[in-house]
Subunit: 292 residues, 2 copies
């Protein structure tokens, strides 16, 4: 799915919601739990109920891997249920040396029918490039995440790259005149050059509203995948005000708040109701039409 196609969907349907299929067998309604293919049935009903209110689905690989090969099969079948009109995201947070990342890219972009995969930046350019080589797919790189642990490394102060190559002997002198930035800023600035705005997005957590203006300054036109509204407490209003662009530039994900909206037989209707509330609010923030 190209950026043009994605933006078209967003403005036609007036929503930038992504529904997260973090489906945990222990949390789906009791009446489904004992049936064969319970998770697949649950996902099918969630997709059917929410598809008019969202433009993307995000499958969290962990919840499927927890069931082993059978879970991986359910993930493949779930990906195949997502309509072509919706962006299919594998939230996998992969990343390894080049020949290994190439295998991961093959797994999600060829063997499975995903349009996008989330990737971790720690190992640098050659761990991300094999994903970006699929120019008709999306690589979604972790930038600033929604969890408390973001403070441990992502928010650490890094010497600005222009001075960072120097040796420690010179450092005592140079550090006094050099500027610093957060590690996530270094990641955004550096990685923005690895792909294009047509095949690279960033993960920016909704709980990080204070940082959204910095993030937008560094990457003014990139799309962001924004987890952390709903169960994690981020504000849809705050992040939309701070980061919406002329062609939207945001996919806001909610998982638990939607898929576990009810534990009863009405779970799909309740999921649709919550998704529709998000979409209604989003329609109010979106410009009338994309300016591109």
């Amino acid at each position: 799915m190209t950026r043009h196609q994605l933006v078209d969907q967003i403005f036609q349907k007036r929503t930038y919601l992504c529904v997260g299929l973090d489906t945990d067998i222990d949390r789906i309604p009791r009446h489904l739990r004992d049936q064969p293919d319970a998770v697949l049935q649950f996902n099918r009903q969630i997709i059917e109920a929410t598809k008019d209110h969202c433009v993307a689905y995000k499958i969290n690989t962990a919840f499927y891997e927890a069931s082993g090969a059978k879970g991986w099969d359910v993930m493949a079948q779930t990906a195949a249920l997502i309509p072509d009109t919706h962006l299919r995201i594998a939230d996998a947070k992969r990343g390894d040396i080049g020949n290994t990342s190439a295998q991961y890219a093959r797994a999600f972009f060829e063997t499975l029918a995903f349009d996008a995969v989330t990737v971790a930046p720690y190992m640098g350019a050659d761990s991300v490039r094999p994903f970006l080589e699929y120019t008709d797919k999306w690589t979604i790189l972790l930038g600033l995440t929604s969890n408390a642990g973001a403070a441990d490394f992502e928010m650490q102060r890094v010497l600005h790259r222009s001075t960072a190559g120097i040796e420690s002997a010179e450092l005592a002198l140079d550090v006094s005149t050099s500027s610093t930035e957060h590690l996530y800023e270094t990641v955004l600035r550096t990685a923005a050059g690895w792909g294009s705005e047509e095949n690279l997005m960033f993960v920016i957590g909704a709980t990080q509203a204070d940082s959204f203006s910095t993030v937008r300054r560094l990457t003014p036109n990139h799309f962001y995948l924004v987890p952390g509204v709903g169960a994690q407490g981020g504000s849809l209003r705050d992040i939309s005000k701070a980061a919406l662009t002329a062609d939207c530039g945001l996919l806001v994900n909610a998982s638990r708040a939607i898929i576990y909206a009810s534990e009863g037989e009405d779970f799909a209707d309740e999921a649709a109701a919550i998704a529709s509330q998000y979409a209604f609010e989003m329609a109010g923030y979106l410009p009338g039409s994309p300016v591109v």
Copy 2:
């Protein structure tokens, strides 16, 4: 497998070799390729041929995921083939928000029979802790990796944590008196406190021999998983001289150099020959007995 049991195996067999099962269907010998379960057959013969020369096997999940659910099944079956005397490592480089990392931990430590899993540090403490809660398993956190991309972020200069919390307004003053370290040093120092030397190891690439003394200073007693000898060019001699501890403290991995030693029907014999050469060299570097 406890640290005591692992060290026992290392000194009994006088080897700290880990064999990496990065099995690519396109690279296994032709006579196997068309058979059903070709990858499993290949892995079975490699394990049988090399088990006396190594103490661990590392399964690279990417190479199995590239074949989808079927590949995941072959991975599960391969893990089950590894003898109890050997550490079973899933080289998966996972890491996500807490409830998701808990699912990954369940996938590798419960659903599959692994003793250890590699984890990426970018998202911080709460993304790693769910793995460390399995105190009888091993979490192997990325520290300094073997690839060129390590220069992009891992080698960036970070303000030392003791000064890192201050706001940017104060920073211009404080930065002149503060010290810096590489990001991988921040990761090692910070994460060392999250687990114990009995359930936390670090990945340190063999191509980073210049940094091994720094790494050992920061984490004097932790075990390291060291990829990057063989195909990636790291020196077994250099890293052993710099980082061996009284109870070894190293697992050195070779993958392609061993499993693809021959493309012919003699592949298992040739794999055994290469593994045996590594083990012979390692025996020369190991102390006579562990001092613990």
